[in-house]
Amino acid sequence: MYVAVKGGERAIENAHRLLAHERRGDRDVPELSLSQISEQLGLAVDRVMSEGSLYDRELAALAIKQARGDLIEAIFLVRAFRATLPRFGTTEPVDTGAMRVQRRVSSTFKDIPGGQVLGPTFDYTHRLLDPGLAQGGDPEAPALAETSDVPMPRVTDILGRDGLIEPSPAAETDAPVGDLTRDPLSFPAGRDLRLQNLARGDEGFLLALGYSTQRGYGRNHPFAGEIRFGEVEVEFVAEEIGFAVPLGSIELTECQMVNQFKGSATEPPCFTRGYGLAFGQSERKTMSMALVDRALRARELGEDLIAPAQDEEFVMSHSDNVQATGFVEHLKLPHYVDFQSELGLLRKLRQEFAEANAAPALKEAAE
């Protein structure tokens, strides 16, 4: 009974106890370990790290376990923990050009220096449920080849050499990097904050928005210039030492969209960029992000603002699934004080309506 909303101290405790019981499920079934989640549900871990904005596979796996597989709940757990962590500084920008690539595809050139590398992908699989997997068992070992020392320049860098694509804005090393978790957001926001917002944004929300641009709501004629996934080094300049020291490596997916040109009387036409970056292997997320990033540049590129995906305030205010789920789900909280005042007002209005319509009611009955 919902009446226990009042006087619910014991109800809360018991509900949480029951939740823990349900999370565990049938106790005759072996309990999930964090390494099982991290190894075998790796893409879920990647998503939780990306949208949780914390690169820690073990904590993400713990969050997924604790959240019973509800990824938004897991992202929330990670975010709440992240908010309490002290900041030591920001790392050097990572060089995705120097990535140890596991996968790298371009849809704009048939062949590119370093080649197309399919890597681990669902692409070209037939989506047939595999009864063999239900049985379990070890799959075949992966095919191996000699590692190649051929550098893998980014496709956008190849285009950039001929000036066919707008240059990426150079990093302003003296300017601090915007951080919307440490400073309140105001509009219009810089592209750094937009990209941070999108990187933390809900995959489903960005997917739908990116899709809407393809269907004509702010179309920007994209090509997947390049998608790459692999490991990059993270370096940090410690003040006391004075030079960059490697902290370790992280897995990233990067998507560079190549979009319709801009140009003017004074500037030759060139392709424009949309950018997506996420932790782990998150292609759907980074592609969607790149489409939305490009759509949000509409004002900067002098395009008409006509579609939701181009509307910075709309996109950035609604992309965060932790905020969104909290506010949508807060409707579960009691609202009976407000509801009571609405009831009172409605009763009064209905009474006045009834009194005013007492005579005309006869006329209506006659019609």
Binding site: A80, E313, G326, F327
Partner: protein
């Protein structure tokens, strides 16, 4: 694994300092919404994260904390937040309005008058009173800057034209210190007069929307109205069934499947205080008690 440890009242001192600065600015400009870098809290957005951050930033070890939701100390979310601070700050908690130094609230202002030295912390879902008239923050900030509130008066006028009354019964807009139009949070308009010239400090925290605003003690707070349609407080037809109070805000409780109802004080501390002082209504006990589980 990085086992987490937490500071007094959960938030780290740097974050508290940032929030206190926002609070000071808010007090200096009554009714103005100060942006602040709201943190992710361990409870969901929309469940009081703004109020919790404000409380965490102002709470000292000697404070006595009261938390209410819908006027009541024993609603689930009030219990959850009270336990959070009992656990992370170890402060004394109370259900007595009088004994509390800090009161965090959702949707109500206590019936008992507040006194100087107390702080009332409101949980705010949508801090912007103009939001449902103009969805863009860029626009609403400009409207506040220019004190351009015509749109709100048009809305209230349209209510009167359509319904014969201003059809806003909660989150009823107020003007603070004759300057800023402010959302009092979704308290029933019954509570609006309590905000005016109140001896206690009133702080408002909106976590998801990243805004803090304030009403300093003894500040004028006027509910928007028209000369020929003055603001009226909602009046109940019956007194509280438990304590007989005629001046309190009442919850309507459905008592059976035939549509029977009883009305009782939403402010449980006020109601219990009156009952202890010998006031009686028509009923002796609340109709629903928490079902006992093992």
């Amino acid at each position: 694994m990085n086992a987490p440890t937490y500071n007094f009242a959960y938030l780290d001192e740097q974050t508290k300092r940032m929030i206190r600065r926002a609070i000071l600015k808010a007090i200096a400009i009554p009714g103005y919404q100060v942006p602040f870098a709201s943190r992710e809290m361990p409870m969901p957005y929309g469940w009081g994260t703004g109020g919790v951050q404000v409380t965490a930033a102002i709470l000292g070890p000697k404070d006595v904390l009261k938390v209410i939701d819908q006027g009541s100390d024993d609603t689930t979310n009030a219990i959850s937040i009270r336990k959070f601070f009992a656990k992370t700050a170890g402060v004394e908690t109370t259900t007595s309005t009088d004994a509390a130094t800090v009161i965090q609230t959702r949707h109500r202002i206590p019936e008992a008058p507040l006194r100087a030295g107390q702080v009332l912390v409101y949980q705010v879902p949508i801090p912007e009173p103009l939001r449902f008239l103009e969805p863009r923050e860029t626009e609403t900030r400009r409207m506040h800057a220019l004190a351009e509130y015509g749109l709100m008066h048009v809305k209230l006028y349209e209510d009167i034209a359509r319904f014969g009354h201003i059809a806003t019964s909660y989150a009823y807009p107020v003007k603070v210190n004759a300057r800023y139009v402010m959302d009092p949070s979704p308290t029933p308009k019954f509570d609006n007069p309590k905000m005016d010239n109140c001896p206690a400090l009133q702080l408002f925290g909106a976590g998801r929307e990243k805004r803090i605003y304030a009403i300093p003690p003894y500040t004028s707070v006027v509910s928007l109205d028209f000369e020929d349609h003055p603001f009226t407080r909602y009046k109940f037809d019956a007194p509280c069934a438990l304590c007989g109070a005629e001046d309190s805000y009442l919850d309507e409780i459905v008592t059976d499947n035939k549509g029977s109802r009883m009305f009782v004080c939403s402010d449980t501390d006020y109601c219990e205080g009156r009952q202890a002082a010998g006031h009686r209504g028509t009923e002796s006990v609340a109709p629903h008690k928490e079902a006992a589980h093992g």
